[in-house]
């Protein structure tokens, strides 16, 4: 199951025609204590680079963008009760939403793990 990364610090796991989206460990570390995650409604159509979710840390609100085009098919309801899951398990249990893959060619513009690590090291 390949994982891609955006330069806005989202990750996306691709599984056939659907994908799971979250924010990276680097991102949660930068945001600090997360107190609320506003997730998209199931059924919402997302555009690559468009607003998808909002993360509220103690200090600020930050936008999360959709890595690709597609439709939201499921959201992580655990985040409602325990938004800090994004801090403790950003890469797995702190996932945000699942979506359809409208255009698989969009993955070509994203980074793989190695490229993303080099990108973070350059910041």
């Amino acid at each position: 199951m390949p994982r891609y990364f955006t330069d806005e610090h989202e990750w996306i796991d691709v599984e056939g025609s659907t994908a799971t989206v979250g924010i990276t460990d680097y991102a949660q570390e930068q945001l600090g204590d997360i107190v609320f995650v506003e997730l998209p409604q199931v059924g919402t159509t997302l555009e690559q680079g468009g607003d998808a979710a909002v993360v509220e840390s103690v200090k600020a609100a930050s936008d999360v963008y959709s890595p690709i085009d597609g439709k939201v098919i499921e959201v992580n309801e655990d985040l409602e009760e325990d938004p800090a899951l994004v801090n403790t398990d950003a890469d797995e249990g702190g996932w945000f939403f699942k979506m359809t893959v409208a255009d698989a060619s969009q993955f070509e513009g994203l980074m793989d793990a190695k490229a993303y690590k080099a990108f973070c090291d350059s910041l």
Partner: protein
Amino acid sequence: MSEDTEIEDLPLEALPLDAWHRAQGARMVPFAGYEMPIQYEGIVAEHNWTRENAGLFDVSHMGQLLLSGPGVDAAVEAVLPIDLATLKVGSQRYSLLLDENGGVLDDLMVSRQADALYLVVNGACKWDDIGHLREHLPDEITLNHLDNRALLALQGPKASAALARHAQGGPDLATLTFMKFANYVLGGHDAWIARAGYTGEDGFEISIPAYAAEEIATLLCGEPEVKPIGLGARDSLRLEAGLPLYGHDLSPETSPIEAGLIFGINKRRRSAGGYPGAERINREIAEGTQRKWVGLKLDGRMPAREGAEVFADDTMVGTVTSGGFSPTLGQPIAMAYVDAAYAANGTELEIAVRGKRLPAAVSPMPFVPHNYYRGS
């Protein structure tokens, strides 16, 4: 993912403790023209540590000013609504720098030293304050900007125990009650210590020579009760304590009476006037204001931030000036100016955030009780 960042025009300056903060693992951000620590281990952990133990804050970006010269009291009373006749040596008082309209230019602390008045003003306003004071004070008043001094705040229920192990050459800390001020020797260096702060907890603000800042910060953080705390927790702590932040809750567009800061207009000055904006302020004291600054407690977990609009049904009745998540209460809290008709405690309102309406109730401030030391 993106975060709003402030645009800074001028190159950022380093504070005396810059290298020390970095060595403690701080994340540094631009603030008031300086690079400052926003957090070390995390805002919530630092917030809770300060409420339960003691936190050391570097507030050296704030302006420390000394005013002296013949007739300094009368000269300062022409600029500030303070009654200096009742400010004794060793006492500190909150005051306000007002414009001719009674709008707030800054809020500040004034302490009386033996031969001078010592002012602590906000970092983001200090250059404007200095210009304003120099313009409005007569030439024979000396204004000395103490940019060779650092300022630390030690805050929390265990601050006194930690500081008592090192503060020498001054009155017993047990006699230094809230808003008192005295000179000490701390780690071998002269230190001006006020029992005051910006967290709602017992604590101290400690003015020291800049060259001694690293040594004294290390000394205090060597105490088991003390950890360094960043600006992030400073903001969440002051929010819970119901204390206004200049540039957000106070500005030239707000009057101290709207903000509930009537205690900043000392009693003699309310009737006598003779300070900038006295006409409006006296009128507002007599007649009340159209809007009032209030606390709001929100339902749910989604915070409302500065700028969010406040509604009573379909009518917009106010604007949020500060807001965030209270780690102590485990819920979002906010401060807002609202129409006076909606300012009573318990009034149910709504705050608009990203197209949603968040239910909120007007709440007394502080949100978390103050824990000031007023003597045993």
